[in-house]
Every structure is written in structure tokens, then in C-alpha cells.
């Protein structure tokens, strides 16, 4: 683990030391067609972005450099941090999510301006535990030029993470601890499959109920609906299982009763959290774990610390 970290950090240091990468020309000049397409999609009616004296929305700066669908091999180029990204992918940090973006505009751009940009890696921090999985935060800067004049800057940070369940594992064998499902509970498991945490709601009196059942004990209605829970929860109680071995689970593992703000409780594993850091009252958020090709289980992760 330390070896891998050292390897990745060395590559990151090298990329940082390499400084500014080559200038890359934007595929299109600043143009009114892309501007109007953009303002229309965004619903931005600012008149300065239209008409003969139109300027480009400054926030479009990154759009001008987007390569688009047809990647011309002749235009392939490598940014300083691409070696780092390749190594992260290879080490299983295949997930990617943007966390921060900061633009600085030196001036507005007019149609017809031809832009170039260059990239400089700033740093890499990690590995950090996050709600998505363990990962590294990679930060870089981009400068855009019109001719030789710098017109805008961007700081961009993303998280490269190891998705919680490696895809290879999910394919291997069926998870042995399967829930029974019938007409009364299918909506819940369908919801999980769709990434929704569903709570049964009585169609008659509106009472929420978990675990669900066929008939409302309050009003006898058999008309059932559901709401989608916010996904927030608080650990109400928990255990750490050590013995005996449980098929499909790697001890020690944590199971908790989670209290939902909607007013029901649910049981699930606490994941992405060192065991000694779990406590009664800990705020958690639902996360979905694919156990095999067919079964997904809702589980609970601590609310992530800010990046």
C-alpha cells in the first residue's frame, strides 16, 4: 500500500515539476452558433451574449477547449497529469468525480477569437477515505490565451477513487445472503435496484412503515404507495460481527439500525468507515452496493468530510 502510494506520489511530483504543458489549440474559434446553443440550453437570456456585438459568456471558457465526440488522433496530446491518471486507473482508482472548479476571467471574449490553452498540474493529495471509496484528489490549472494574451484561468480538482465494489468481484460468485422477496416487499428491492431507498406509504392514511406489509395496521387499507427517502440517517444502534464466520461477509463488519428522518428505522451495513469510528448518533447517508450481478443492497456510509 505504501509502495503504491509512493509510486503514485513520485509520478505526481514529476508531473508537477514538469510545469506548463504544451499549448493546445481549441477546436473551434469563439463563435455565435455555440454561444446561442449554450445560452438556449442554460436558459440564459442576458442580451450581451447575442447580436452583432455579442460577447461570449465568460463561463464558456472551458467549452471552447472541449474535444467533443470525434477525437481526431492527430489532435491527441498528453497533459502533464495524464501519466498520473493512467497509473491511478491501473491501481484501481477508476472512478472519477469533479469536486472543485474555479474560473478567473481577465476579459470577455468576442466571436472569432482563436484560443489556445495550457495545463499545469498543481498537486495530488491522498489516499483519502471518501463516501465513494478511497481516492486521490488531483488538482491542475489551465490558462487560456488569445494569441499570447492570457484571457482566463481555471483551477480544477477531481477525485480519482476506487469504486467500493470492484467490478471483477461482483461478477465472480452469487452473494450467498439473499433476501426473500414477495409482492409485499418487491417495491423496496426494485427501488434499491433503481438507486432509490423506498419507504412504504399507506395509500389510505399516509402512514409510513418499514419494514413494509400488505395491510395498513392503522387504517386497514391495502392500497400501498411509497415515498423515496432522502437517504439521510443516524446510527441508532450497531454491532461489530467477529464470530462465527458469515458467508459473503469479511469479519469484522458492522451492522447498524439506522434511524431515518422520515421516522422509520432500517438495518444495514456501515461501510467506508473505520470500525472504531462508528458510534451511536453518527450521521450516515445511504449508499448502494452491488453484491453480485443481480443483488444490490442499500448500505450506510458516514457523511463525507469536505474535500
Amino acid at each position: 500500500m505504501t509502495e503504491l502510494r509512493d509510486h503514485l506520489m513520485a509520478l505526481a511530483d514529476k508531473a508537477v515539476a514538469a510545469g506548463e504543458g504544451p499549448r493546445q489549440a481549441a477546436p473551434h474559434p469563439v463563435n455565435d452558433v455555440m454561444i446561442s446553443h449554450w445560452t438556449e440550453a442554460m436558459g440564459d437570456r442576458n442580451p450581451v451574449y447575442a447580436g452583432p456585438d455579442a460577447v461570449a459568456p465568460p463561463v464558456m471558457i472551458q467549452v471552447w477547449s472541449m474535444e467533443g465526440l470525434s477525437r481526431d488522433p492527430a489532435r491527441e496530446f498528453r497533459r502533464p497529469m495524464d501519466d498520473v491518471f493512467d497509473a491511478l486507473d491501473e491501481a484501481g482508482y477508476k472512478g472519477v468525480v469533479a469536486t472543485n472548479c474555479e474560473h478567473t476571467y481577465h476579459r470577455y471574449l468576442s466571436t472569432g477569437e482563436e484560443l489556445t490553452s495550457s495545463t499545469r498540474m498543481v498537486d495530488m493529495v491522498g489516499p483519502k477515505r471518501t463516501a465513494l471509496g478511497e481516492g486521490y484528489f488531483v488538482t491542475w490549472n489551465v490558462t487560456w490565451f488569445s494569441g499570447d494574451e492570457p484571457v482566463a484561468e481555471m483551477m480544477f480538482r477531481l477525485l480519482k477513487f476506487q469504486p467500493v465494489v470492484p467490478a471483477e468481484k461482483a461478477k465472480r460468485e452469487p452473494y450467498p445472503l439473499r433476501p426473500a422477496v414477495n409482492d409485499d416487499t418487491r417495491f423496496f428491492w426494485d427501488g434499491v435496484q433503481a438507486g432509490e431507498l423506498r419507504i412504504q406509504r399507506c395509500g389510505g392514511c399516509g402512514e409510513l412503515r418499514h419494514p413494509p406489509g400488505p395491510v395498513c395496521p392503522s387504517c386497514r387499507s391495502a392500497e400501498r404507495t411509497h415515498i423515496v427517502a432522502s437517504g439521510a440517517g443516524t446510527v441508532y444502534s450497531y454491532v461489530v460481527h467477529h464470530h462465527p464466520p458469515v458467508p459473503g461477509q469479511e469479519p469484522p463488519f458492522v451492522v447498524a439500525v439506522v434511524e431515518l428522518p422520515e421516522g422509520v428505522r432500517m438495518v444495514g451495513n456501515i461501510v467506508q468507515c473505520p470500525i472504531e469510528e462508528v458510534y451511536v448518533g453518527m450521521p450516515v447517508r445511504v449508499t448502494y452496493q452491488e453484491m453480485d450481478d443481480e443483488l444490490t443492497l442499500p448500505m450506510w456510509a458516514p457523511i463525507p468530510e469536505e474535500a
Binding site: 426473500a180 444502534s237 460481527h241 467477529h242 458469515v246 458467508p247 439500525v257 428505522r265 451495513n269 453484491m291
Partner: protein, 390 residues
């Protein structure tokens, strides 16, 4: 007083030895225990016309009857929910006897729980069937919450959090039970007491439960003979009169995972049992000289003392710290060593101990016993008894 109180009695008790490997079939164990109980009562198999056991027992009533030579049966019944059935078998027998449905009913429980199917081992099929219980389990089993120790530990954590109870408080229960068992020759842990340090050093099973918070696993069988109080009076042994017997299930009840109701720090189903027992017997906690408190896992011993009114909510820890459950304490609990110390026969061995305490023949006899309260499996729908001097 209900019409049941005082009308029936336990007239005989019998058991096999308690071991880790009986070396014989469960039916064999059942037959031996039934013979022993009938001999104890001074009755013959042909006197028996009713039988009750647990739904979990693998020996059908008719199979046991065939082995033992019991002839016609006019009553047979089974009680559900694991160890929660223990005192329920006596309730069913007493009801049958009091109403004349049967005259002599044998209750039995026999298993090779250590050398055969071990309840503490994960059964991955628990959540597999879309029966009501399978569906109930399906909210827990997929997360590996699959063993009784884990189900109980979930309650224990919340109870600790709510009332400032510690692992040492649970440990004191284990230490007391092993101390009682150490002077009981029938106990598996005869001569083997433990210290609180031993308890704390024992490995985690499911945190917050250590190994020594969990009762042992045993092979063995116990049988009881229930008949009318009147007839029992004429038999070999002095009767242990059934002053009260009750079953209990609470609102929102589940099979050991009632996590979705109230504050998770009580056992409402045992509250139901307690209220019924006190009402039916007309007794109060101060009139109980010793209690058999179901002890498959230590934390629920504390909860039961509170549910039954032997102490206030959250105060069982103080009751135990002050020696309340010791043989010379305020309420001697499980003088035979309980399931932690004597054997795990699903609560049936505790009822036999209660009968011995009433008779005055127990190895760790409590002085001046008039009434004994007995409880059955906890976390599940359960049952209880008060047995009294005739």
C-alpha cells in the same frame, strides 16, 4: 386469580446428562428424559395422555410416545418461537389438564445442539423463503446480521448507550452464573468458575458481546410431567404448584429483531408475561425467593429484571453490582448456573431447577423458597411461570 392458578402442578422432572456430544440420537435423548421424569413422578407411560414440545424440536410427539410406550394421546401441542416456548409448554399442559382435555401431560425438549445443528452458526437460508418469518429475516440476514448473538448485541448496544451500562455489567452476570454452576455437579462448568477479567479477556463474538456473554451449546434433554394439583399431591414428590403461567408477545414483535418499535431498551413481550404472572398469582416481586432468568446472552438478564419489576428501568446494573443475583443476594438468579453455567437446553433445564428449589432438593438450595419465577427465551415471543409450594 384466574381459573388456572393453583389447579395444576409439575409432578415430575427428568433429564439426561448435559454434554457436548451425547453420542446418541435426539429421539433417544427425548425418550430417556421422559422416562426419568415419569419415574420421578412415580407414573408409568400408560398414565400419559398428553404431550407438548417446541415447534423447533425434531422429535414428533408420536415418535417419543412410541419409544416410551405411551399409548393413546388426547392432547398434543407445540409452542413456537425457539426458546420462548419453554414455559409455554407448561402453560399449554396446564390448560389441557385444568380443562380436562388431558390428565397427565409430558413436556419435553431434546436436542444435540452442540454436536448436531448449532443455533449459533449462520444459516444462510434464513432469509430465503417468502414466509412471513423469511421476509422478516430478509431485512437483516443480507447484511450478515444472522446469528442470535448479533441480534441480541444490537439491543445490548442501545441499552448500554441509554443507561450507561458497561461490558463489565454484563460480565458480572456471567461470573455469577459460572460461580453457581461451579458447585453444581450436573453443570457442564462444574468446578470451573470465571473472573470478570476472564470475561473481559474473552474474544469478541459480536461486539458488544464477548464469548463469555454467550451461553454454551449443549446436547441433552429435559422432560416435565404436569398433572392436576390434586393428583400431584398423591404422587412420589411434593408438587410444584403452577401458580401462574403466561405467554407474551409485544406490539411490533419480531423474531429477535424487534428493532422497529419503542426505544429498543426493553423486552415488551416479557412485560406482557410479567403483568400476567403478577396478576394471576396475586404475588409481587418481593414474594419471589429465587428466579430462573433465561440467560442465553447476559444483557437480557438485566432487561428481564427490569421488565419483571425486580428493579427500575436502567437500574439492573446497580442491582447486579450490589450482588443482587448471587445465591445470598436480594434475588438469587439461576442457582443451578443457568444456561451460561449448567447447560443450554432451551430453557427447559431452568424449569427443572425451579421445581427442585420448590422441593428443597437443589444443590445450591435457596433458603425458605415459597415461589419461584421462571422465564423463557428472550428477544422472541416468550413465556413465564410462577411455581409455588403446595
Amino acid at each position: 386469580m384466574s381459573s388456572l392458578s393453583g389447579r395444576t402442578a409439575v409432578a415430575g422432572i427428568g433429564a439426561t446428562e448435559f454434554s457436548k456430544e451425547s453420542g446418541r440420537s435426539e429421539l433417544h435423548l427425548a425418550a430417556e428424559a421422559v422416562f426419568a421424569a415419569l419415574d420421578d413422578a412415580g407414573l408409568s407411560p400408560s398414565d400419559v395422555d398428553g404431550m407438548v414440545t417446541y415447534t423447533q424440536d425434531a422429535n414428533d410427539e408420536i415418535a417419543v410416545a412410541r419409544e416410551v410406550g405411551i399409548g393413546d394421546l388426547s392432547f398434543f401441542s407445540r409452542v413456537h418461537y425457539g426458546g420462548g416456548a419453554a414455559c409455554g409448554t407448561v402453560l399449554h399442559a396446564a390448560m389441557a389438564v385444568a380443562t380436562g382435555v388431558a390428565e397427565v401431560v409430558v413436556c419435553y425438549r431434546a436436542f444435540n445442539e452442540r454436536s448436531g445443528r448449532r443455533f449459533g452458526q449462520p444459516n444462510t437460508r434464513l432469509g430465503g423463503e417468502p414466509s412471513s418469518q423469511g421476509l422478516e429475516m430478509s431485512w437483516h440476514v443480507p447484511y450478515g446480521l444472522i446469528t442470535p448473538a448479533a441480534w441480541v448485541a444490537m439491543f445490548a448496544r442501545r441499552y448500554m448507550h441509554q443507561y450507561g451500562v458497561t461490558s463489565e455489567d454484563f460480565g458480572r452476570v456471567a461470573v455469577a452464573m459460572r460461580r453457581h454452576a461451579s458447585t453444581n455437579p450436573a453443570a457442564w462448568f462444574h468446578g470451573r468458575p470465571i473472573t470478570l477479567a476472564d470475561h473481559q479477556a474473552s474474544k469478541w463474538i459480536v461486539d458488544p458481546l464477548h464469548l463469555l456473554d454467550c451461553c454454551q451449546e449443549s446436547d441433552g434433554a429435559v422432560a416435565l410431567v404436569v398433572t392436576t394439583e390434586e393428583r400431584a399431591r398423591d404422587l412420589r414428590r411434593s408438587p410444584a404448584v403452577i401458580t401462574a403461567a403466561a405467554q407474551g408477545s409485544g406490539t411490533g414483535q419480531m423474531m429477535m429483531t424487534s428493532y422497529y418499535r419503542d426505544d429498543m431498551t426493553g423486552l415488551p413481550e416479557m412485560g406482557v408475561v410479567g403483568r400476567k404472572l403478577w396478576k394471576e398469582s396475586g404475588l409481587s416481586p418481593s414474594e419471589i425467593q429465587t428466579a430462573i432468568i433465561y440467560d442465553h446472552f447476559t444483557p437480557f438478564v438485566l432487561t428481564q429484571l427490569e421488565e419483571l419489576g425486580f428493579c427500575e428501568r436502567g437500574e439492573a446494573k446497580d442491582f447486579i453490582r450490589n450482588g443482587g443475583i448471587e445465591i445470598d443476594g436480594h434475588l438469587p438468579v439461576n442457582p443451578h448456573g443457568g444456561q451460561l453455567g449448567e447447560a443450554y437446553i432451551h430453557g427447559m433445564n431452568g424449569i427443572a431447577e425451579a421445581v427442585r428449589q420448590i422441593r428443597g432438593t437443589a444443590v445450591n438450595q435457596v433458603a425458605g423458597v415459597q415461589n419461584v419465577l421462571v422465564t423463557a427465551g428472550t428477544g422472541v415471543p416468550t413465556s413465564g411461570l410462577i411455581l409455588s409450594q403446595g
